[in-house]
């Protein structure tokens, strides 16, 4: 078990890379996911169709394939995903601004993939809001967007928290794949370098790596439980 203590800085750095990656991917997935969910329930048929197609394609493709697409198709299309070098944000999340684009590519892949699941979680929350709420909102003259913003979505979170929690926890675990698509130094890549390159025994290294993921996922689960209890709106 000495390997854990002696290489603590490797584990710590890996943990922080994975943490940053997950915060960014979760943010991206939530933004895209809300948009896709809104498209899927929109009164405009082409938008509904677009939303459904998005969910069908990305929910049913293995994440590995999506990662491959991001890492190989984007450069082939001449993109370095430079739009993610958001000024200010790249000061906090240094990896966003690096010359090597693989962090950004993996981020795009995980975000768009997870967004499909986020959209469905939010849609299940929206379906959980009694239809009378949206009807009453329409009856006082709110438009579709106002209806979503002021009446339906605020109540949809309550029903979406539990499935969203599962989606985000799955996303954190899925982030391990990023290490194999050129993201250096995250938790999973650290495991690889310690065992293969460093020659350390596999079992203790992987126990350390697992602990890193548990530190991310277990508190998130507890936090979501608390949010769920706070959001309980009496009817």
């Amino acid at each position: 078990m000495d390997v854990l203590v002696n290489n603590f800085d490797v584990f710590r750095n890996g943990f922080f890379v994975t943490l940053q990656f997950c915060i960014l991917a979760a943010t991206g997935a939530l933004i895209i996911g809300v948009l896709v969910a809104v498209m899927r329930i929109s009164p405009v048929p082409p938008l509904r169709w677009l939303g459904s197609t998005y969910v069908t394609v990305l929910r049913n493709c293995p994440l590995t394939i999506v990662m491959f697409f991001a890492a190989f198709a984007l450069p082939a299309l001449g993109s370095n995903a430079d739009f993610l070098r958001i000024p200010g944000l790249d000061q906090i999340f240094k990896r966003l601004g690096t010359d090597l684009p693989y962090f950004r590519f993996a981020l795009i892949a995980l975000s768009v993939y997870t967004a499909a699941f986020v959209a469905e979680a939010i849609r299940s929350g929206v379906n959980g809001v009694p239809s009378g709420q949206a009807e009453a909102a329409r009856a006082i003259g709110l438009t579709f967007t106002q209806n979503l913003r002021y009446v339906v979505l605020p109540q949809a979170w309550k029903g979406a928290v539990v499935p969203l929690g599962s989606v985000l926890i799955a996303m954190i675990k899925n982030s391990a794949l990023a290490g194999f698509f050129g993201v250096a130094g995250d938790l999973s890549a650290s495991a690889q370098s310690l065992t293969s390159a460093g020659g350390f025994p596999i079992i203790p290294v992987f126990i350390g790596i697992s602990l890193g993921y548990l530190i991310l996922t277990v508190p998130l689960g507890l936090l979501l439980d608390r949010v769920e209890r706070r959001q309980a709106v009496a009817r």
Partner: protein
């Protein structure tokens, strides 16, 4: 009483739910300031009729005109029209995540772009009018059914509507709370509000309505002044309906 051109006009309206013909060639006009009570057995299409007037239910054929204009298709114009037609539901449908006062002021602030302070003041006055000013900061679930329905009426009135639709407003209430809601509705009627009321409250129909409409099987079977209707129903269907509900 009805004066000038009618406010709401339905002309040969048909609607199907799948094979079910819920509105069968219904024509009806409601004058400004008129109170029309719609009664009839369950499944006769009276709620659907009420909900077509602000297009919560789209129709398959026929035309509906409100204040001289045909109902617009889904979109901004329809939202504007809906803001001019107040609606009160059987199940109240107060916004569960907002306080009573927020329920009442949401429309004025977001649809009419009123200043929050002004909307608040008017909202409180309306809550006072329906007798629940002291409940302003509570959430819907903390109120009794009767109070919730009165709040829902205040929410509809906050939009200063040209007409009010009531879709069985007292059917979900405990018997002892029916009176307080009907009182508010009666005072509205007295103040000259145009109202279409779907209800089973025959007392309200008798004393507050200008006209009673009897529906059965999607058809508008009979319309008459309340006294006339309750004393001498013309159709067999209405006689049968009245004999069933008035004998107890």
């Amino acid at each position: 009483m009805a004066t000038g051109e009618p406010l709401i006009v339905l002309d040969s309206v048909n609607k199907w739910f799948g094979p079910l013909h819920v509105l069968d060639d219904v024509s009806l006009s409601v004058g400004r300031g008129e109170v029309v009570v719609v009664i009839g057995p369950s499944g006769s299409g009276k709620s659907t009729l009420c909900r077509t007037i602000n297009r919560l239910e789209p129709i398959n054929s026929g035309t509906i005109t409100f204040d001289g204009r045909a109902l617009p298709a889904e979109g901004k114009a329809l939202a504007k029209l809906r803001s001019e037609v107040g609606m009160v539901f059987q199940s109240f449908n107060l916004f569960a995540h907002k306080t009573i006062l927020e329920n009442v002021t949401l429309g004025p602030i977001k649809v009419r772009k009123e200043k929050p302070a002004a909307a608040r003041e008017r909202g409180l006055a309306l809550l006072d009018r329906v007798g629940i000013a002291n409940q302003a900061d509570k959430y819907p679930a903390q109120l009794s059914g009767g109070q919730q329905q009165r709040a829902a009426i205040a929410r509809a009135l906050a939009m200063q509507p040209k007409a009010m639709l009531f879709d069985e407003p007292t059917s979900a209430l405990d018997p002892e709370m029916v009176g307080e809601v009907l009182d508010v509705m009666t005072s509205l009627a007295r103040d000259g509000m145009t109202m279409v009321v779907v209800t089973h409250e025959m007392g309200f129909a008798r004393h507050a309505a200008n006209r009673v409409i009897f529906m059965a099987d999607g058809k508008l079977v009979e319309e008459a002044e309340p006294n006339e209707f309750f004393a001498n129903p013309r159709s067999e269907r209405a006689k049968d309906f009245l004999s069933k509900i008035l004998t107890h």
